[in-house]
């Protein structure tokens, strides 16, 4: 998938992406500060909003094969189970009991199938929205800030699961986060967003160690300081 000269204006905010390639079967990371345009780009890819100019070449990918977990997931007014199987239901597919249990067990939620989805803790709601996005085996998954809200153990669990999926049946992922630390272990390629532009793209190594862009160095330094790994 390739994004060419994409432009979108929302109020005072101007998104402008000249060239961004999302390679198939790879894990991509969108990283950047709050309001840098990551979610807006994801929404453009998902066709939730339409660009003012430029285009997205999907390269044979259909919109129904793309999914996105929202930074604020929408859960149906129903049980965890009903939420989980919704994408299967609309595709006329029958979920198997084992598959559901297996998925829920990934996040230790196997006892919660009958619980009202909106009564889950916010982290559990995020997990449910991720499982729901994965259940119908889409070809491109956009995970918007969902990892950012999980506890460390769940993040580890999730990373292990993604790597396993990638070995079996490669899927394209776009992981969005406002922290480099959430992404660099996982992502094959990272794209750094700033003020509505992608100012750097490359492997995690390239972004972390070889990029001279002052903005990115500053961003990294601040993150390190906040994590207490670097004392001023």
């Amino acid at each position: 998938m390739r994004i060419r000269n994409l432009e979108k204006r929302i109020g005072d905010f101007q998104l402008k992406i000249e060239d961004l390639t999302i390679e198939e079967g790879k894990i991509h990371g969108f990283v950047g500060g709050n309001g840098s345009g990551k979610t807006t780009t994801a929404k453009l890819i998902m066709d939730i909003i339409q660009p003012d100019a430029g285009r997205i070449e999907y390269g044979g990918l259909k919109l129904t094969d793309i999914t996105m977990t929202s930074q604020r997931p929408y859960l149906l007014h129903d049980t965890v189970y009903a939420n989980l199987v919704y994408p299967l239901k609309i595709r006329g597919r029958k979920p198997s009991k084992e598959q559901i249990q297996e998925l829920l067990a990934l996040f230790g939620m196997q006892d919660k199938a009958k619980q009202y989805a909106r009564s889950l803790s916010s982290g559990e709601q995020q997990k449910l929205s991720m499982l729901r996005a994965m259940i119908f085996e889409p070809k491109l998954l956009i995970i918007d800030e969902t990892l950012s809200n999980l506890d460390p153990e769940s993040v580890e669990q999730f990373e292990r699961m993604i790597l396993e999926i990638q070995k079996k049946r490669p899927v394209t992922w776009i992981m969005i986060s406002h922290r480099l630390s959430h992404l660099y272990r996982l992502c094959d390629r990272m794209h750094f967003f700033s003020c509505g532009r992608v100012i750097a793209s490359g492997t995690a190594e390239e972004i972390l160690f070889a990029n001279e862009e002052p903005e990115i160095r500053r961003f990294m330094a601040k993150e390190l300081v906040q994590r207490g790994e670097y004392d001023l």
Partner: protein
């Protein structure tokens, strides 16, 4: 003992309480169902499409929500009276005519409530449906399902309005005993005859019905809010 017997007899024979209750329920159920179909469809359509003058339409809708029923009654009366444009339908002084008037009164209420709920709910549902790859039809069905308690609530509000309305029903129905007399018009008649006790009894009955409806509404409201983990 004699007093109660007297009262019951009087209510049942003179004013036709049984019939009034039957007519009230029949009329209210029919007009609520009709209004629900029109009101929900209109409300969802209004939310779905934007067009020039939409704000005016919404404002008119809100105005109609509070229109005095007796005005609607008058208009419907003029339409269906023998010399009126719809006079050939023979709706004057019939329950069907009353249902027509009530549907015109309640539809804006259900439409307005549906619209307000849809404005709040639909954007998130649509985005969600898109991320799931739902078709247009599936998206619309999902929206209705996600709003179902709110829609029940709107219907109940319409029904409550319907059973308690008197002006339009009086004008269009004519308060004919055993035929178009409702609980409310029966009360009006009893009052004009100076028979207050019986009027009050009927009034209490209506109040009890309204209470049951409120309980139902409350139950639905709780159903919506409860168990949410903010």
């Amino acid at each position: 003992m004699n007093g109660i017997e007297n009262l019951v007899n009087r209510l049942f024979s003179d004013v036709g309480v049984y019939d009034a209750i039957r007519v009230t329920l029949c009329m209210s159920v029919c007009s609520t169902l009709l209004s629900s179909v029109f009101g929900i469809a209109l409300g969802l359509t209004l939310e779905r499409f934007s067009f020039p003058g939409k704000r005016i339409v919404v404002r008119i809708n809100r105005t109609l929500m509070g229109v005095p029923p007796v005005v609607v009654g008058l208009v419907v009366y003029m339409l269906i009276m023998r010399r009126g444009p719809l006079g050939f339908l023979g709706l004057l002084f019939t329950v069907r005519g009353m249902i027509l008037a009530q549907t015109l009164i309640i539809t804006p209420i259900i439409c307005g409530m549906t619209y307000s709920y849809a404005v709040k709910t639909a954007p998130a549902v649509r985005v969600f449906a898109k991320t799931m790859g739902a078709s247009r039809l599936q998206t619309s069905l999902l929206l209705v399902k996600e709003m179902k308690y709110e829609l029940y609530f709107a219907m109940i509000s319409g029904f409550g309005r319907s059973i308690s309305e008197v002006g339009a029903v009086m004008l269009v129905g004519g308060n004919i005993k055993g035929n178009t007399r409702t609980m409310t018009t029966a009360i009006a008649l009893l009052k004009s005859q100076g028979i207050f006790h019986e009027g009050l009894t009927l009034g209490l009955l209506l109040l009890a019905m309204a209470f049951v409806i409120q309980c139902l509404a409350d139950f639905l409201r709780r159903e919506v809010r409860e168990e949410e983990n903010y």
